[in-house]
Symmetry: C2
């Protein structure tokens, strides 16, 4: 019910809404084959919603007041968002950071932040009268679309690299999606999905090129702002693949500023794996666009992308926030899974452990001060990829069911804690 | 902050609180080796709390008003509960049941209902000054204890059958628990944990014998009652292993009646796998206690137990509710995973799919009418055991990244939908 307009993020042109219109027709004329996307559209909300009441953040009425939908009734009956902002006393002590928070976004229906984008996209498709929605995905976006469509009765068709973690593939299949594992990279699945949507008339949920994916994820920032009020975050740490969560979170904080709920957008600290770091390299070099990373690879499968689709928008918004980027090695990501889980109770997938590893790197580099108010965004549950967590653990040996065996094992733990 | 007393569930004696006191000293004299537990204690709340405000169900203050704790500050800073009660229009239509709901309890921090018990037990241990908490578990209770202790800084020691699903083992290890996989059954792990607690002075969270496990799970019933108000459920469908969720949910509805929030306790429909069905057999035969099931086995690992520990209490409370029990085969459980997920968006582990399979059986048997108000309790996420879900699916073949391959795959789906 929020009034809105679609704006080109490059030329600023306001465009009439059209379900076939995914990018600015003018700016996209400069699109290079295989490059990041030119002329992404953004949603501009024209209303000034009030602060939601306590416990009301994820209500359809609240969402309809801040998101571009015609009616709260367009949302699937599957609540998304509202996960806790945790004060994490033990992680604070371990890091020497008295104002650190963890936003637990693993509590969503399919266990990741991608549910936020899928909820809005499916609502828009409903309002456009489109029954089939398709997306490419490293795994989480596909599962999110499957979950929302299971609740709404729409059809989800998903293109994923065949190398996606097994738990993600099983989950999206159980949720009833038509799953097409592609012999190739995520980037190939992305191209194929776009062509299939044109060929078969499906609504295209591909991340970034569908403006409602970026817009849907902004609710993560709205919740952080509302939950932390009257305090305001100095730094928000975001894991990045395509740069859409980054762009959406930046947009959400900008909305909070426009609505008078927050004084300024916090600095965004973008974290990428060393093996898939196109955005961070561009942030460091000052480039307006990324250089593709052929053969990108990392244990953080959700962040693996050769060409971040939302690169130009994400880079501009991170810079506007005064933010920066850091890369982290796969070893640091694996180690951060257990450290975050055992100090907070929130078990992250590798991509969602990356913010902790990235924060530690940023502290070393002097990009963040320990006294600052910092929020880590935990964007997916560790249950989506337990093999990655296990790869950082020693083998686990069984014991006989007797007390002496318990004593021996405990004695061993005390020697090697 | 709720005033309470501990009552023997068999002789009705009121007992002074004592962290070492797990069962009634009188009734437990009749305990048979290997039998279900005699003289379980129950919590009786002496206050009459008000209905919580909307969105406030899982707040520490709300919990402290309905649970036996000295202070809301004793709870770990890891919100538990508050998952949605979903109206599931597509499942309603498929079942021909216009008043069917799904309570999504997969949204808890570790992804299962067991988080409710662990939150309360850890708070009690905190108030008793106990630092180490131990439990036996088929997997979910151990993970729940690990998550809560990670947030609170207490130490979790967990005994699990070595055959527990891999994702559960990785999750509890990442969360920092001392994990002791036992070469033996859950029942052997249970005995060993009890002896270890006595030997090492640990606080014993073993399910059923620790009265706060049953009491902690009652918040599941409180939430269902509050979320459905002003309507009231006729039937609540509960998956059962040890019978502790069953007992706790019955206790929660009884509290709602005592507090004037509900007119009557709904009928409890207990669902067990055919291979682990001690409670249902006793419900059918009219026995006051179970006959053990040596070698109990099922795809629903969370429900596999040779001797349900809370049998006597669960049987009495189900009968008092006017309820009944049904068994379901492993094939029906596997099939229900995808049916529930694809019609609601909630992906259940096998134990949590059992309620749907059980409901269908109860409809056949005439135990439930299609017009009744029925709530299915979805007690754990499918991400905890994706292999079980996958075992009901055909193989998934990859496609080449071209449009013709997409067309061929879709044509095949239309032939074999």
């Amino acid at each position: 019910m929020a009034r809105f307009e679609l704006v080109c993020t490059e030329c600023g042109r306001v465009l009439a809404e059209d379900p076939e219109l995914l990018v600015c027709p003018e700016c996209s004329r400069f699109q290079e084959s295989g490059g990041s996307v030119r002329g992404l559209l953004a949603v501009r909300i024209l209303d000034r919603p009030e602060l939601p009441g306590p416990g009301r953040m994820a209500d359809p009425e609240t969402l309809a007041a801040v998101l571009p939908v015609a009616s709260a009734a367009s949302f699937a009956l599957l609540p998304v968002g509202g996960g806790p902002l945790l004060p994490v006393p033990r992680l604070r002590e371990a890091q020497g950071m008295p104002r650190l928070w963890v936003k637990d976004d693993t509590r969503n229906p399919s266990g990741s932040t991608k549910d936020r984008a899928s909820l809005l996209v499916a609502a828009r498709a409903m309002e456009y009268g489109r029954e089939t929605i398709a997306t490419a995905s490293t795994g989480n976006a596909a599962t999110a679309l499957a979950a929302v469509c299971a609740a709404s009765g729409q059809r989800a068709v998903v293109f994923v690299p065949e190398s996606a973690p097994p738990a993600k593939l099983v989950q999206m299949r159980a949720l009833g999606a038509v799953v097409l594992p592609v012999r190739g990279s995520y980037d190939q699945a992305f191209e194929l999905c776009g062509r299939a949507c044109q060929a078969f008339g499906w609504y295209n949920r591909n991340t970034a090129v569908n403006p409602f994916t970026t817009e849907g994820k902004k609710t993560l920032a709205l919740e952080v702002g509302w939950q932390l009020a009257p305090e305001a975050p100095d730094v928000v740490v975001v894991p990045a693949g395509d740069g859409v969560i980054t762009s959406g979170v930046a947009g959400g904080f900008a909305d909070l500023v426009a609505w008078g709920h927050l004084a300024a957008v916090p600095r965004l600290l973008v974290v990428q794996p060393e093996g898939s770091s196109a955005l961070v390299r561009a942030l460091e070099s000052g480039a307006a666009d990324v250089t593709p990373v052929p053969g990108a690879a990392s244990v953080a499968d959700s962040l693996v992308v050769e060409v971040p689709r939302a690169a130009r928008l994400a880079l501009a918004r991170v810079r506007a926030s005064g933010g920066a980027g850091v890369t982290v090695g796969d070893g640091a990501i694996r180690a951060a899974i257990g450290r975050l889980a055992s100090l907070t109770g929130v078990f992250p997938e590798p991509a969602a452990a990356a913010p902790l590893a990235g924060l530690e790197r940023a502290l070393e580099l002097g990009l963040v001060e320990r006294e600052e108010r910092v929020v880590l965004l935990i964007t997916g549950t560790g249950l989506k990829d337990p093999a990655a967590a296990e790869s950082a653990m020693p083998p686990l040996e069984s014991i006989e069911p007797d007390l002496a065996a318990v004593e021996r094992r405990l004695a061993g733990l005390h020697r090697h804690p």
